[in-house]
Assembly symmetry: C2
Homo-oligomer: 312 residues x 2
C-alpha cells in the first residue's frame, strides 16, 4: 500500500520555520509543503498567501496547518484553522495563556480535528531513554541549568520581551518540557525568583524550586545573559546513580557512561513530524499543558527583581 | 433516620475562620466542630492542637478538615490530611500553584477522600439565578469592577503581599469565581496590566481583558486602594437586557428589576458547608481550578507597572 504524503501549510516564515520546519517537512516521508502563509515572505513554487484566511479559502486540499508564529497571535490563527476543519500543529508554547489552550482542545474535539501541541525538546535524542531509565528509580535532587545568550538565539526578536512572550522561559520551557516528560511523577512549583530588565516586560533570568513525591526536589537556573559556552543541562540524582542530559537533551549519560540512543532520529523536528503523522493516522490529539502550567505558576508565585536594562 | 453530625476540624483560626467558618459550622445541620488546630489560639471546650499532625494522631474520629490557612502553606497541610485519609475542604484559592492542586486531586482520588476546593462567592445569593438566566442568552460585554480598601479587609495581614499571596487577586479571584460559574462558555485572558507597589511582591491593582465565544469580551478592574464606598460589581450585557450582580454577588437585577433569590441561604459559608455535606454523602470531590488558572494567566501574560510603595 502506498501512503500518500499529506500537504501541510506553514504559517509564519520566521527563524524557526526556516531553520527547522521546512527542512523536516522536506525530508518527511509523511508530509510535503502544501502552502505558506506570511505577511512578508513567499516561497518559489509553493502557493503563498498573505493571510491564513486566503489560504484556507484557496487550498481546500491542505488538511494540516503548522503554526510557527509567536505565541501572542497563535490563538486566533489556530481558532480560524480549526473552525475550517484543519488539523493544527502548534509550535511551543501552545499559547500565551493556559485557558486559550483549553479552548482550542475543546474546539478541536468538537470539529473532529487533531491538535498537536509540540514540545520539540521532548524529541531530543537522549530524552526517551532518560524517561525509560528513570521510570524505576527513586529520585532525589534534579538540577536544571539552562543558560544561553539571548542575542545569539533571538536576534532582534521583540515578541520575546513583550507581555506573553515569556522572556527566558521561552528557552526555559524546553527544559520544563523535558522534565515533565522524564519524571515518573509530577512536581509543583514552591518558589521562584524572576529578574525583569528594568525596560522589559518579561524576565531575563529565573531561579525555580519545585517539589514532588518523596524527597524529589528540582532546582532550576534559567539565564539569558550567558556568553561563551552555552549550557542546557539536566542532572538527576537517583538511588542507582546520576543521570545527565546535556546539549538540551541530545546527550545522555549515567554515572559518566554514554547512554544516548544511537538509533534515535537526528533532528527534533523530524521527530515532531513523525509524531504528527502518527496522530493524524490515529485521529488523536496530543496536548500536554504541564510545561506552560509550571511557567504560569512561576509567574504567579514568583518574587520579582529588577535587573539592568536590556538593549539589543 | 437520624443523620449524625460530622465532626470537622478547623485548621488556622484567623479572620476567615472566626468570621465565617465557625458560625456556619455552629448552625450547620450536617457538621459540628470536632477540633481546632492553631499555633497561637485555642477554643474552650474544643480539643485544640498546635499542629495538624497532633490532631490527626489524637482525633481518629474527625473525618473532615477545613483548611483556613494562607495559600502558601495550604499544600503541605492538605497533603498530610489526605495521607491520613481525611476529607479536605480548602479555602480559596486552593493553592499557591496550579500544579499543587492537581497533585492534591490525584492524592484525594487515590486515597478515597473528598477534596472540596471552595469558592465562597459562588454561594452568594444572586449567583445561581444569574447563571440560570444567562444560560440561554447571547452575551456581549462583561464589566467587572472589584474595588476595595485593603487596609479594611486585610488589616496587618502580610501573607497577601508575599509571593504566592496573590495581592489584589485575593479578592479579585472571587469575581473570577463568579464569572466562571455564571458564563455559559469559557473565556481566556488576552491582556493584563498589574501594578506592583515598589516595596511589595504582589499587585495592588490589575486591569484584565478576556475573550470568549462569539463577541464575548470581559473587562475587569481590580483595585485595593478604594476608600469610601466599596464596589464588587459584575455587569453583563446580553441580547435580552443587562444583568447586574452587585455586593459581591449578593444582589441580582436585570434591567433594573430585582431578581435576587429570596429563598437563597443568607450566608455564603452556610452554602459551602451544605455543599460539603452533599459531597461527603456522595463521596465526590469538587475542584474547579479555572479561577486560579485565569489569575496565573494574568501574571504570565500581564504587563507589570511599578506603583507607589504600600505601607500598612
Amino acid at each position: 500500500m502506498t501512503v500518500l504524503e499529506t500537504p501541510v501549510a506553514i504559517v509564519g516564515l520566521g527563524k524557526i520555520a526556516v531553520d527547522q520546519h521546512l527542512p523536516s517537512i522536506a525530508t518527511s516521508p509523511a508530509f510535503h509543503l502544501g502552502a505558506v502563509v506570511s505577511r512578508h515572505a513567499s516561497m518559489e513554487g509553493i502557493p503563498s498567501y498573505k493571510t491564513l484566511g486566503e489560504m484556507l479559502a484557496n487550498e481546500p486540499d491542505v488538511p494540516a496547518v503548522a503554526l510557527c508564529v509567536p505565541p501572542q497571535v497563535r490563538f486566533d490563527l489556530a481558532y480560524e484553522a480549526l473552525c475550517a476543519g484543519r488539523h493544527v500543529l502548534l509550535e511551543k508554547p501552545p499559547g500565551a495563556s493556559l485557558s486559550e489552550v483549553e479552548a482550542l482542545c475543546d474546539l478541536a474535539e468538537a470539529n473532529g480535528c487533531v491538535l498537536f501541541a509540540t514540545w520539540h525538546s521532548r524529541f531530543a535524542k537522549g530524552v526517551a531513554k532518560a524517561k525509560e531509565w528513570l521510570a524505576a528509580r527513586d529520585i532525589g535532587k534534579v538540577k536544571i541549568t539552562w543558560r544561553e545568550d539571548v542575542r545569539h538565539w533571538h536576534p532582534g526578536q521583540q515578541w520575546i520581551w513583550q507581555p506573553g512572550g515569556l522572556g527566558v522561559f521561552d528557552p526555559g520551557i524546553n527544559a520544563l518540557s523535558i522534565l515533565t516528560e522524564i519524571l515518573p511523577s509530577p512536581v509543583h512549583m514552591t518558589a521562584a525568583e524572576l529578574e525583569f530588565p528594568e525596560n522589559r516586560d518579561t524576565p531575563i533570568a529565573a531561579r525555580l524550586s519545585m517539589r514532588g513525591a518523596g524527597n524529589l526536589i528540582v532546582e532550576a537556573d534559567f539565564d539569558w545573559r550567558q556568553t561563551g559556552p552555552q549550557t542546557w543541562n539536566i542532572e538527576v540524582e537517583t538511588d542507582h546513580g546520576v543521570l545527565r542530559l546535556t546539549g538540551g537533551g541530545a546527550h545522555l549519560e549515567v554515572d559518566g557512561r554514554n547512554m544516548t540512543d544511537a538509533e534515535a532520529l537526528q533532528s527534533e523536528y523530524d521527530g515532531i513530524y513523525s509524531r504528527f503523522a502518527e496522530l493524524l493516522r490515529e485521529s488523536r490529539s496530543e496536548v500536554d499543558n504541564s510545561p506552560l502550567r509550571h511557567v504560569a505558576d512561576a509567574f504567579m508565585l514568583g518574587k520579582r527583581r529588577v535587573a539592568a536594562p536590556f538593549n539589543d
